[in-house]
């Protein structure tokens, strides 16, 4: 058979080398797993948050500051803030990707929402730290 009738492509990489870095590479489920991991972590953390809200009902500033000055309360609030906003970020990403059709609009919406989430999360964390160390 002549070479003209038998086209071929020469690739200077081994089949294993090509498989690595292509395809799923076991990273495709990271988002799914992170959603579940934050869900499980948020079960006790959100119950702790609900109890905190009940304890701080009608609290004055001194009582609130005293509550956050307890190391465990500050730690649990920081954990709640980190886990909750990570969960919120992934959840809203899925909703946006489902409903915003246009590629440019979808990208812009994701950037704005994720940027806003960073601002909220940092504002909450810095506030807790300020109360904890004041």
């Amino acid at each position: 058979m002549s070479k003209e009738n038998n086209p071929s492509v020469h690739i200077m990489r081994s089949p294993l080398g090509r498989a690595r870095g292509l395809g799923a590479a076991k990273h495709g489920a990271a988002h799914w797993w992170a959603e579940r991991a934050t869900s499980v972590a948020l079960l006790p953390l959100s119950l702790y948050f609900v109890v905190s809200v009940l304890l701080l009902k009608g609290a004055d500033h001194a009582a609130m500051a005293a509550y956050m000055a307890e190391p465990w309360n500050a730690v649990l609030f920081l954990l709640l803030i980190a886990t909750m906003f990570y969960h919120v970020s992934m959840g809203l990403q899925v909703v946006i990707e489902d409903y915003v059709r246009d590629d440019a609009k979808r990208l812009m919406t994701l950037l704005v929402v994720k940027g806003g989430i960073w601002v909220l999360a940092l504002a909450a964390a810095v506030s807790v730290l300020k109360l904890a160390f004041s």
Binding site: R36, S39, V40, L42, L43, S46, V50, L54, K57, G58, A59, D60, H61, M64, A65, M68, F77, M84, F85, V88, G91, L92, V95, R101, L120, A123, A124, V126, S127, V128, K130, L131
Partner: protein
């Protein structure tokens, strides 16, 4: 057609005219089911809770800013509108909490049979009501 996905939605009506067919599940004409209702409510409460985080951040920032700012937000939360917002917050939180457990059970491969799924939906509704009532009873009767 704006993109290739819409090619799947093009069909002919009874007069032979090319039309854009509705995408399923077309919520306006689709009969509500326990599965679809609990699913969309999980998403709605999730988005509502995401918006609700703004209130939590405001509360913490006011606490960090000082006495006067914190008394303003505490007074707002104790007002009629504040309590209404907080009531919605608790309903959304406890629903998303209970239905989230249901989703985690599905992720573990449990409870897919239709009778199981309907029973767990009732448990979620009951759990939401019990937790919400318990919260407000503790807040105003016990606390």
């Amino acid at each position: 057609m704006k993109d290739v996905r819409e090619a799947l939605m093009v069909g002919r009506n009874s007069e032979g005219k090319l039309v854009r067919r509705p995408l399923s599940p077309h919520l306006q004409v689709y009969k509500p089911q326990v599965s679809s209702a609990t699913s969309i409510f999980h998403r709605i409460t999730g988005v509502a809770l995401s918006a609700g985080t703004i209130l939590l951040v405001l509360w913490l920032v006011c606490a960090a800013s000082g006495d006067s700012a914190f008394s303003v937000i505490q007074a707002f939360l104790a007002s009629g509108i504040g309590l209404l917002v907080l009531f919605g917050f608790t309903v959304a939180l406890f629903y998303h909490f209970c239905n989230g457990i249901r989703h985690l059970a599905w992720d573990a491969g449990k409870g897919f049979e239709l009778p199981d799924m309907h029973r767990s939906a009732k448990l979620v509704a009951a759990g939401t009501i019990i937790l919400t009532v318990a919260f407000w009873v503790i807040a105003f009767v016990v606390g």
